[in-house]
Symmetry: D2
Subunit: 392 residues, 4 copies
Amino acid sequence: MTKKKIGLLIIGINGAIGTTVTAGVKAINSNYVEPIGLVTEIFEFKKLDFVNLKDLVIGGWDIIEKPHMECMKSHNIIPETLYNKLVSDGMDVTVYKAPRAGITIHNLNVDGVHKDKKSITISEAIKSITDDINDFVSKNNLDGCVVGNLSSCEPLPENCEIFNSIEVFEKAIENNDSRIKASVVYAYAAIKNHAPFFNFTPNYTIDIPAIKELAIREKISIAGNDGKTGQTLYKTVIAPMLKWRNLKLFGWYSTNILGNNDGRVLEDPSHKEAKIKSKSKVLDKILGYSDFYHRVDINYYPPRGDAKEAWDTVDFKGWLGKEMCMKINWIGEDSTLAAPLIVDITRLLWYTQKKGDYGVAKHLSSFFKDPSENDDYSFGNQVQMLLNYLSN
Amino acid sequence: MTKKKIGLLIIGINGAIGTTVTAGVKAINSNYVEPIGLVTEIFEFKKLDFVNLKDLVIGGWDIIEKPHMECMKSHNIIPETLYNKLVSDGMDVTVYKAPRAGITIHNLNVDGVHKDKKSITISEAIKSITDDINDFVSKNNLDGCVVGNLSSCEPLPENCEIFNSIEVFEKAIENNDSRIKASVVYAYAAIKNHAPFFNFTPNYTIDIPAIKELAIREKISIAGNDGKTGQTLYKTVIAPMLKWRNLKLFGWYSTNILGNNDGRVLEDPSHKEAKIKSKSKVLDKILGYSDFYHRVDINYYPPRGDAKEAWDTVDFKGWLGKEMCMKINWIGEDSTLAAPLIVDITRLLWYTQKKGDYGVAKHLSSFFKDPSENDDYSFGNQVQMLLNYLSN
Amino acid sequence: MTKKKIGLLIIGINGAIGTTVTAGVKAINSNYVEPIGLVTEIFEFKKLDFVNLKDLVIGGWDIIEKPHMECMKSHNIIPETLYNKLVSDGMDVTVYKAPRAGITIHNLNVDGVHKDKKSITISEAIKSITDDINDFVSKNNLDGCVVGNLSSCEPLPENCEIFNSIEVFEKAIENNDSRIKASVVYAYAAIKNHAPFFNFTPNYTIDIPAIKELAIREKISIAGNDGKTGQTLYKTVIAPMLKWRNLKLFGWYSTNILGNNDGRVLEDPSHKEAKIKSKSKVLDKILGYSDFYHRVDINYYPPRGDAKEAWDTVDFKGWLGKEMCMKINWIGEDSTLAAPLIVDITRLLWYTQKKGDYGVAKHLSSFFKDPSENDDYSFGNQVQMLLNYLSN
Amino acid sequence: MTKKKIGLLIIGINGAIGTTVTAGVKAINSNYVEPIGLVTEIFEFKKLDFVNLKDLVIGGWDIIEKPHMECMKSHNIIPETLYNKLVSDGMDVTVYKAPRAGITIHNLNVDGVHKDKKSITISEAIKSITDDINDFVSKNNLDGCVVGNLSSCEPLPENCEIFNSIEVFEKAIENNDSRIKASVVYAYAAIKNHAPFFNFTPNYTIDIPAIKELAIREKISIAGNDGKTGQTLYKTVIAPMLKWRNLKLFGWYSTNILGNNDGRVLEDPSHKEAKIKSKSKVLDKILGYSDFYHRVDINYYPPRGDAKEAWDTVDFKGWLGKEMCMKINWIGEDSTLAAPLIVDITRLLWYTQKKGDYGVAKHLSSFFKDPSENDDYSFGNQVQMLLNYLSN
């Protein structure tokens, strides 16, 4: 008899999104809230055989050693009354200590980062991750598990020769090469352990040739990069509207203000650059031209907390060259928008794996700002790809 | 040898949109401006055999007898320098006197309405329109022509028995029944003369059973209703975004301010009602539920002139029931957005007719707020329908 | 020995603002919250001898018979945790049954309106209000009390001869004249009982000649009309900015959406008219000209709850006639903005009375949309009037 | 007989603001446009004896050698038809070559900067400026002239010992000290030649002790710094509103986008810093506290041209600590807002000088972002200061 339960192991589970995922799934399973925001619960998908939410066991890794429920409280996202109910229900989540080899910790004064600073090699880290996955699957009697990356954005070296093939990459692992960042270590370990892997951060983890090669060799589904939750989401529906009315964009200015940890990390210009880069190209790709001025700013604004406010001015020309304008003010909750997508991607990646597909799951493009192996950035078209995949 | 030229006869050609159409086509043909805003000029459509803009002869009817170029000037939409060029190039447009039978003129103090108030019967009006069409085709040596309705919004009686079949409708014509409004008279005359017909106003002209029956019997293509140019356009891309993220809409408040004649007419509650009605149902249809509060207001605000400003607040819930918000401020030019669509619909309707299709051209849904015989209000899906039609 | 304590009797104390006043004062006195929003707590006023918040006893009248704390809960304004604390502290408020003579109850299906519908005369109502005031003062051992009107907006007859002098007005009372609305009955009874009176609604209660005459005869301070809390507040700081830069306003469009009871009442056009009227003239008065288009819309939008969102577009011209624009989006909490002002007006009116002044307290103009006997609508100037008064 | 005419010599007269000043004054004098935007034309000031606009002769200096009317055209601010009228009227403006000693030219590829790069000393530059002033006054038969600085923002050294007194400053001039920037050289030369001087840029020219000392010794009126035209203008009316309602500001995020030369210069972080600094302190000073998060961003956005768009979110707390928000979107024309103020300051500075006052003209504070010797940043209070001064 097959086991029905599957696992989701989140890298960075004690963060704002991670704790919002665990709280939300628990709250839905306890009938405290409706499953709003979950794409896989839409009417059109009801007939599909996705993993039942009650059969999804969530755990993960973190560098923060404070108890998961304490971290949840500190992010100040879960409403107080719901949080209290979850605590009194005895909610608890398995959090493995994140191995520190090859892991750049951004220069933050983060309270509670575990003090176990003795350096381990990348190989030892892979061993440690492997042990955690096996432990989690076996203790929870799971059919398997999905690994998802929600850790803070880390700058990845581009066109780096050590990533060009599994062969050179595995040699670099042996050499404990410092260019191998944390997300890549996890991706490698996950795939080797036959766990579908997705990357929800702006790193190009999924696009590393060695990782793709490994996924295909091991017949594992992977997905990424960079969750599409707010400003880029609406950009990818507004831009197709301009395109199919032949309205000529000549300027799009986007400012973002956010007050959470993600905002603090993005104050660091090198992290900001990766983020802005992954946000920028969507317009060119959708519109088919690039002779417009596109600027994306991200600013840390503590009063906003976990909410992520955006303001855009979209300047375009129409008939007779007349200039017109659309201005958008988005007041979203960052983690609230991201959390259900984590569950959706997990369910869909598992569904894909069970169906026998592997490599980059392009039909999951609609969930990502910069979908791997897909140049169609229109949200509508991406959703159509998913619908087509699921209807076959 | 077939004639290459075709005609477009616009009902209300001296109005803001009508004059913007004629000025724009002339300006493009004179290489004064780029064909921005014309969907049929998009890269993807280049290979298709649409009527060349230089082969499109535009004329029409109006109740305003002032010369067309004077009307153009009075709308204050065409930039002064361009207008002067067009005048010095000797631009002129054939405008037939609109027959007044069965035509409700809204209670405006419109200057220049022709004084020829002797009442004629509907049958006489049909005869007059027929003569005008034939005159236009013959004088301009055309292969045929398309008729498009841009007149001011008129309240149409719903579920009116005289519209139920051609038979009863033609009897009503004979009886000079006052429930037959102007747009229906034109539609009837156009189809009888084998001219494809489209309705760009909020009237349900195209949905009258007798008109549809006639179009099928005469093998003529028709399209409508109500051009989708501004607020409804972006509603039909934002709403699918909410749907496919399973974000629960609970309120959408839309206000519109506009200062042109359309705004003045809409001050009259009965006209406003038809307009608001055609704007309202799009959300329910796209989202698949209606338990949200949707309110659309339209207000006359003379300082805005022909520009049409809209402000929306879109209130939705996500994961854990958290409330979020998107606010949109659209500053568009009403006639500037509408004008190129008139040319697009003409080209596409003629293309459809030549292809041998007839009845309601559902593949033109993306151009209309309330597309006839199509319940899919998502702009993205409507565009896909057009692409599919054109690729066959 | 003088008693230090004074009373505040609120007409409509079970409403949204009334319950927010009582909750807030109690919460401040219990040190649960800071006195934010209270003008009389500003640094500049610290040295003045205003009534201590702990010496302010609040009670009132209402047509709703549900217990005050239940009403407070139903308005959904006080945060749940604070509300629970107040309840467990045993908070209670004296609410007298509002007499029904001369009282227009708007046509709402308001739950819990007391069923004691036997008609009483206006004279009997005055007697009843008098008894309540005396009872409240005596039971709470007060030095005196202030009466404030927070009831729903009622349409007052203008230029009505029965209001022209005390003499004719008192005859109209004897005749039980139905043109005498509730707020006027309360104002009359309050002043006769030597209680300073203020009107926070859009009625022109304070401007009735008979009421003013009475206040002067009885040497009582009065203030009104219509609390200035949101859109009009910022209008009266933006308009002076335009004036003193000589920027020529040519259009100001204001839309308001609100979801509370006030919003429901304003759906009734006659109530709406009074409100819009009191909002409209501020611009003309401040700018000194009126050749601009000013439109104020108020719409009921239930998703907004007690919050009151406003959106304005302010169109003005500068040097060379160039057109520019300022757009404002205000997301305020209606009752939260109003409640502290009720306390401020009470303290300041009592201070004025003690100082020996009476009649219309013009120095309180900054609190009102349409201040009685003051044509200077600039908020800055109004504040200056208050500062000058208090520094003498 | 006294001469009635006076002069205005603008440093940077070929720039966007300079050319808008000259075009506007000429257009008003030719009755082409109304004097909108001129504070000194407000009704309240009609009786005062300001210099007649026809008696104001405008000239200036610039590093750009292109003819003034060509520069005007290139800024693309004056409407084409008006520009053509001015040219055909033979409009011309005297532009002296700006001496280059002590003048930091920002690193722009500015076309047309005069090639006369031979270095001159500061003393020679002062001599050259003196000659220009005398030439202008004599050729135009003027009663005197005012000098105003509109040049691009230059970073001034703070607390620099060479500025501490006239004595050390004049020694530094002799030593040709490179810390003496252009605006200071002009200020020194103007005052020595008995020309009232104002600084409209973010430099602290007016606050240099040596300059103030000189102005007092020479009995000359001076005014500055940094013209208040847009975002800071409305900040200084919104912040007093919050203060006098005791609404607690906890965050104010301001973004500015502009596409003109000023925007390009501000891309350089050192220039940006001076500008942002002069914009930042207004809130603290008005509110009397600084425990809020205030962030001002300025970004170059070419599609906006000379227009300067700003977006602000103003986050504040009220009664019970409830959070509320005001969002502002300002679409102004930078030079159009600044130009009339240049004329106003000139008239008022001359008026002050004639009245016999000298040193910093504090009553002109309302025109400046960072008024010298005045800590009251409230626009309303600043206007009151002006009214008081003028009514004496």
